[in-house]
């Protein structure tokens, strides 16, 4: 425990800026993965244990597109669109068959696909780790804001994640499609009786969740090494986020992810040997005080 370092940081604007942006970066990437997870659970009532694979595919798709075209924007687009299509196919062909089935069955199907997807990546891209490399536009000196260090690429990353959060939040609450999705989550039988194709909604939601995870993977690709199985560690933290924020709550995923990012960022200064433990401790405190998570609703 190094509380002096933590106190010193809290009283320094340079340190505060650096560590806060550090927390935001970690949190926003986590949010993109976790929000897909929570969305799928909220609507489909399925805990998608294979969700980390979409993060992995997003990174690999983006890397391949970047290598072929040299365009970073296209790489992001391919990462997101590719995983959306993959998500749709995965949901229609496999997951749709286990809705309403025993949780164990759903878990087994998802876990089987974790292994299958990892092997597919190994076959296509090889078992060795890979690096996409930072696009030349972002190979610049970091910005110095109030003495703190902020890399320009991370500003873009935070911006993209924020836009995704806002579009998702407004889209689900204000648009007609959003209302239908929320209605399907609440009472799919009634939605179906009104002549709306719930299968299409389910497929769309799964594709959206996959796309968000894929976008996170694509955004992370320039700064994280790519390996088969890379989605697993992200998945664990995403589960912590959804548990803290409340399963099914998008606002909860955002707040949970940001809190987790800040805990890691400032925790590494004050509690260098207990940073991981702090995340779990926080989760336990939330679960004990509010078992449904910060923004989760009690089951009806």
């Amino acid at each position: 425990m190094d509380l002096d370092a933590l106190a010193g940081c809290l009283s320094s604007s340079a340190c505060l800026v650096t560590q806060t942006t550090s927390g935001l970066i970690i949190g926003m990437l986590l949010f993109l993965v976790a929000v897909g997870l929570t969305l799928i659970f909220g609507v489909l009532k399925v805990v998608n244990f294979s969700h980390g694979a979409f993060y992995m595919f997003g990174a690999y798709f983006a890397m391949t597109a970047y290598q072929l075209t040299g365009s970073f924007a296209l790489a992001m687009l391919v990462g997101a669109a590719g995983t959306a299509i993959l998500g749709l196919i995965f949901e229609r062909v496999f997951m749709s068959r286990v809705y309403g089935a025993d949780v164990l069955m759903q878990l087994l199907v998802c876990y089987a696909f974790v292994l299958i997807f990892d092997d597919v990546v190994r076959i296509i891209w090889g078992p060795e780790f890979k690096s996409m490399g930072m696009p030349s536009a972002f190979q610049v000196m970091p910005l110095f804001i109030a003495g703190g260090v902020v890399p320009p690429y991370y500003l873009l990353l935070i911006g993209v994640a924020l836009v995704a959060a806002i579009v998702l939040g407004i889209g689900l609450s204000r648009s007609r499609i959003g209302k239908v999705i929320r209605a399907a989550a609440h009472n799919p039988g009634m939605v179906s009786a009104l002549g709306i194709n719930t299968g299409l909604i389910y497929g769309g939601v799964f594709a959206l969740g996959g796309m968000l995870a894929g976008l996170a993977g694509a955004l992370a690709a320039p700064v994280r090494s790519l390996t088969p199985g890379m989605g697993f560690s992200v998945l664990i933290e995403s589960f912590i986020v959804t548990v803290i924020g409340g399963m099914g709550s998008i606002l909860g995923a955002l707040i949970g992810a940001l809190l987790l990012g800040l805990i890691r960022s400032f925790g590494s200064l004050g509690f260098p040997l207990f940073t991981e433990g702090l995340m779990y401790l926080f989760m336990v405190i939330v679960l004990v005080s509010k078992p449904t998570g910060l923004f989760g609703r009690e089951a009806a």
Partner: protein
């Protein structure tokens, strides 16, 4: 009275037959010894995050085995490798090793496991008495600790303590020359990371007593994001950083530290940087990272080493790794020992292996030795240098001095109670 023989098998013949049968079943290696081929078992990591290292181990072994077989085999017996995936799990490594000997009939073992798995395979070798050469574990205690010593196990791998002595000495020289007194460390949070960092700083401080460690970071193994670690180090404002992160973790760390311009703000010493697995993957490799040699074909700067690296690349379309040269050396040792023993028998080979010196492309002076008293590899090329972003990646390597290594290693063993 004259005894007459009754027809059928006599009691004496029956006893002889039973004895022969019992010998065959109780000591299957007697029967196996007559076989034309000799099976060598190899548990290694062929799946998961470090599969690339296991695959490169297998490749290197096969490259050398082909040469041995072309030259007539191991004491006249063609080698058949039986290579199995342990998935990097110690219990699986032990199970596979046992199965290779008991079920597959392997007479020798090459243990291509990381440290955690190697200790498990070592116990199998202790139990079965089969000759076992560890080819990947750098944990010093595997052979330095006398409790681990068994007559049938050897280690054909670089050792953590050797790297730390050479690294500490090299880094101290630069610390003194550039006045680097404030140091930070960032290494993976498991036995290898903790031990290697501890040993490096021990020798760094010994050679440069002014050095002070002002910040330590211990990210977990295979952590995807190092942002908080990078910013923590930036806050501490050290003049130099030591890291023994490796593989994909190291490349992630470099990519993430690069965008904070960290490499402009401090000298970085990353012992595992100079390995092709990392050098060829990092797209924006900063100039001037100090690293120990893992495997590069330009050190030692001999035609033999360059030729070996090129031959490997020509066959497998990729560069060898640190694990590759160690595995290749193990096969070279086996071939030479079998030739000297004029036998492929494990016990006879083990006797010859003790203290054996062979010609080797990876030797500091063109030879390497299997030290007799602790059954471990010495005399291999070891050194540190600085990176550049393109080939040859580490243009100049300052070689470590084996005389100093031996002296300090002996002291270290004494301090640990090993001698």
């Amino acid at each position: 009275m004259k005894r007459t023989r009754t027809p059928g098998i006599s009691r004496r013949s029956t006893l002889a037959l039973m004895g022969a049968g019992a010998m065959t079943f109780a000591a299957p290696w007697v029967a196996r010894a007559q076989a034309k081929t000799i099976k060598i078992g190899m548990p290694t990591i062929l799946s998961g995050r470090v599969a690339q290292l296991g695959t490169s181990s297998r490749n290197a072994v096969m490259l050398e085995v082909e040469k041995v077989n072309a030259a007539g085999g191991l004491a006249g017996r063609q080698i058949e490798m039986v290579i199995r995936d342990s998935k990097g799990q110690p219990q699986e490594a032990a199970r596979v090793a046992r199965e290779l000997v008991n079920t597959d009939g392997c007479e020798l073992l090459l243990d291509g496991e990381a440290s955690s798995g190697s200790f498990a395979v070592h116990e199998v070798a202790r139990d079965l008495g089969v000759l076992c050469i560890h080819t990947c574990s750098e944990a010093s205690s595997l052979t330095a600790d006398p409790k681990q010593h068994i007559p049938n196990a050897f280690r054909c791998v670089r050792q953590g303590i050797h790297d730390s002595i050479v690294g500490g000495s090299y880094a101290a020289g630069i610390a003194k020359a550039k006045g680097l007194k404030k140091w930070a460390t960032c290494s993976p949070d498991y036995a290898y990371g903790r031990d290697t960092t501890g040993e490096f700083t021990l020798y760094l401080k010994r050679f440069a007593p002014d050095v002070e460690i002002i910040s330590e970071s211990w990210p977990k193994l295979f952590q995807p994001d190092y942002t908080e670690v990078v910013t923590k180090i930036l806050q501490a404002k050290p003049q130099a950083l030591y890291s023994c992160l490796w593989g994909g973790d190291l490349t992630s760390y470099i990519d993430q530290a690069n965008i904070y311009a960290m490499f402009n703000q401090m000298e970085v010493f990353a012992v595992n940087m100079a390995d092709y697995t990392a050098l060829t993957v990092v797209k924006n490799l900063p100039k001037g990272i100090h690293s120990g040699n893992r495997y590069i074909k330009t050190f030692p700067t001999t035609p033999e080493n360059a030729a070996w690296g090129d031959a490997y690349r020509a066959k497998y379309n990729e560069y060898p790794t640190n694990w590759s040269w160690q595995n290749a050396t193990a096969v070279m040792f086996l071939a030479e020992a079998a030739k000297k023993a004029n036998s492929a028998d494990g016990k006879k080979i083990a006797e010859v292996l003790k203290g054996l010196t062979i010609k080797c492309p990876f030797g500091a002076d063109g030879t390497v030795t299997m030290r007799g008293d602790d059954h471990t590899l010495v005399g291999y090329a070891i050194g540190w240098g600085t990176t550049i972003p393109q080939e040859p990646y580490v243009p100049e390597v300052k070689a470590g001095d084996w005389k100093t290594i031996f002296e300090l290693e002996a002291e270290w063993k004494k301090s640990k109670g090993y001698t």
